[in-house]
Symmetry: C2
């Protein structure tokens, strides 16, 4: 069996196969396409994807009485940011932001997001995620910064709701699909030699016990002679070094054009890689599809995507064959689950992208515990956060062992931040420097 | 003559007409399309658009010696932000930010933009606009906030370069196309009745002397029964009230679906409107094209677009028939001029979108003075800025008279901010609240 066959889907993926290549499939005026076919033995059309997007994700029925969000606070200490929501009964939910994105994005929590959520019923979270986007001027800010701010607020609210329902966060957005989550360990280095990368990957396998690895190709959004020479060493070299038992993925971060994508993609196929991530710049939709159409290897992408319409396009046109919404950049777990459902309709797996900071591995674990259509390995970047927290009721942190992490337990996120640390944080009440005391 | 014929192009628009509807025209692998046709009597293809994007906009040859950017400062007072660049000789360039966007976006000036520009030769501005995007993690932030920060830095640098070359800013990015700029006055209200809007539009014509108007349709990113009833009153009512001598435009801000767009679009055609802006949500590329294909009226859009690839798609596929890059949201005058050139290649006009705050009308005037392919009327929202400045060497501010504003004179932006006001501003040195003194 070819190693890429291991990239098989878990239970729950629809058996529908290749969509037509028509790029107009999504226009509502074309919803008559395939009208007379049965949903189970035909290609899904634009109306099918639109219908999927209307299905609720959050189990609102778990909550019989209003959960009024009385306060939404942005807390800061050093370069760390936490969002805290407090309801009328004084119950709280907290989320940790990714400090390497929040340093650029945090004002939007106050200017664009907070006004839509404060004072509202947290049970309406799903509707509020739509309202916060179409409210002027928010839709203009479509992009990672705005949607990350929404995600941090969403996760704090889900933490609160989980505590109220006495359920782990994942149980609010789906059914338990697995007890433990297999991991691939990702390495982000591009500065060092191929030999250095191989040693680094070795140390990552030791750290997490993972049986799958990902590393970087190209020079990030462009390629150079030096990066191409390095790529040609890495692709066969990493395979040779780790042998056939380790699943390998490669990520070009949009470095290539179509010809170089095909060249490297074929080399990855020869050496039996599991997927090829972002061959061309992420917003080159048709070029992405052109690469995917011409390669046998699974083409992955979606980390940079912040538009639901474009995810629909990428999935319905099979421009990607594995979708990777970033759980934060794309606006949270509920929106990401909608992407996963569109992928499921098209018979494609979803493997969310995460960042190493800001509890990425914990948010991922909640999501994947409830995710039907995925693969055997999820992204893992270690436990890098400096903020003190423990798994609730223990003195442990949340990290990999023997290549797995366990499905999260407890209520809400299932963690407790050090109360002393939280007490030292300061609430930020204005986005404008001259108005900060 | 139909009023919409007034939307004729000024000198310089290529005579090329309708592009094919093929949505794959942009894929590089299809560059063999129409290979044997002469550029002058064939439909432009993806390679033609790519070639246009490689043409420099900035006249680098004007500068014989390096202009090293020694300092790039973000200044703040109350809710106003100014970017100031200082070169090694102590010469300075300044730009005023739009306070209603900068309050959400300003940290990115420090975290994402400044590191690419400080210490560099300002003559390399055009290359730096590319570098600042592909540098990690900046491309992930594609969107209004990131590109606005780049634009404010770009305009401060162009102000500096104009002062050094002793030329107005527009002369650095093109040739003079006109001495004065015709205006349409835009009104943003959606809360009040149709009758209220008509009275408001009347007062705007009095304020600026404009002979063209724009107002809002729909409920912004959605429509309701009430908004539809109001739209049906406004479309014939505004025409009836102002008669045939006033050019009228209508802006739906993505409120409609395809059927409602066609319904309202046909009503706009009946009443001889000049263009119909953003009928469907801005990121619904194929739905935008479907509407444009089925209507005779010019369909305008682009305000929310921050991807060069997507502008290329919208233009090459004639999904829009008038392009409106926002000079700030899209990353400045140089990037916007590239969009205008793509439009010119396709035989389409460019009419930039502007905001009312942050010297929108001045930046627009510099751009349009050098813009060959445009229409008779440019967006105008009055002189709303609170920051004290004068046209250099006068005691006047920059605003409309008799429906026109003059092509800017003087050097750089051609304005002088009140030095006392600038001295009162504080430099912001960190994006993180706990690190602000």
């Amino acid at each position: 069996m070819k190693r890429r066959d291991l990239l098989k889907l878990s239970a729950g993926v629809a058996a529908t196969a290749c969509l037509g290549a028509s790029t107009t499939i999504l226009a509502s005026s074309n919803s008559s396409l395939s009208k007379n076919l049965q949903p189970n033995n035909r290609t899904p059309n634009g109306a099918d994807f639109d219908a999927i997007l209307q299905q609720p994700v959050l189990k609102r029925d778990l909550f019989k009485t209003p959960v009024t969000i009385e306060k939404l606070e942005l807390l800061n200490k050093d370069d760390e940011f936490i969002v805290r929501v407090t309801d009328k009964e004084g119950r709280q939910g907290l989320s940790l932001c990714n400090s390497r994105r929040a340093d650029s994005a945090w004002p939007m929590i106050l200017t664009l997001v907070k006004p839509t959520f404060e004072g509202k019923d947290a049970r309406d979270l799903e509707a509020l995620l739509h309202e916060v986007y179409i409210t002027s001027p928010n839709y203009k800010f479509q992009g990672l910064a705005f949607w990350s701010c929404v995600a941090w607020v969403e996760i704090a609210i889900l933490d609160l709701l989980g505590k109220i329902a006495k359920l782990p966060l994942w149980a609010l957005i789906g059914e338990k699909q697995r007890e433990k989550i297999g991991l691939y360990h990702a390495n982000g280095d591009r500065k060092n030699s191929a030999e250095w990368v191989i040693r680094k990957l070795e140390s990552l396998l030791e750290e997490s016990g993972a049986r799958a690895l990902k590393y970087k190709l190209g020079a990030r959004m462009h390629y150079t002679e030096a990066s191409t020479a390095r790529d040609k060493k890495l692709i066969p070299g990493v395979r040779k070094h780790f042998g056939d038992d380790v699943t390998l993925y490669a990520d070009a971060n949009g470095s290539y054009d179509i010809p170089m994508s095909l060249y490297m993609g074929k080399m990855l196929e020869e050496h039996d890689y599991g997927f090829f991530e972002e061959p061309v710049p992420f917003d080159y939709l048709e070029e992405t599809k052109a690469v995917t159409d011409q390669l046998a290897i699974t083409v992955a992408g979606g980390e940079q995507e912040t538009s639901m319409w474009r995810f629909k396009w990428l999935i319905a046109n099979r421009a990607l064959t594995l979708v990777q919404p970033d759980l934060i950049y794309f606006g949270g777990l509920i929106r990401s689950m909608r992407v996963a459902r569109m992928a499921q309709l098209a018979g494609l797996p979803c493997v969310p992208h995460i960042s190493g900071l800001g509890l990425g591995q914990l948010y991922m674990a909640h999501f994947v515990t409830a995710l039907p259509n995925t693969t055997d390995f999820q992204e893992y970047k270690g436990d890098r956060d400096k903020v003190p927290y423990v798994l609730s009721g223990t003195n442990k942190r949340y990290k990999a062992k023997d290549g797995y992490i366990n499905a999260p337990q407890g209520v809400g996120l299932g963690i407790t931040f050090d109360p002393e640390y939280i007490a030292e944080m300061k609430e930020i009440t204005s986005s404008i420097p001259s108005q900060l005391s």
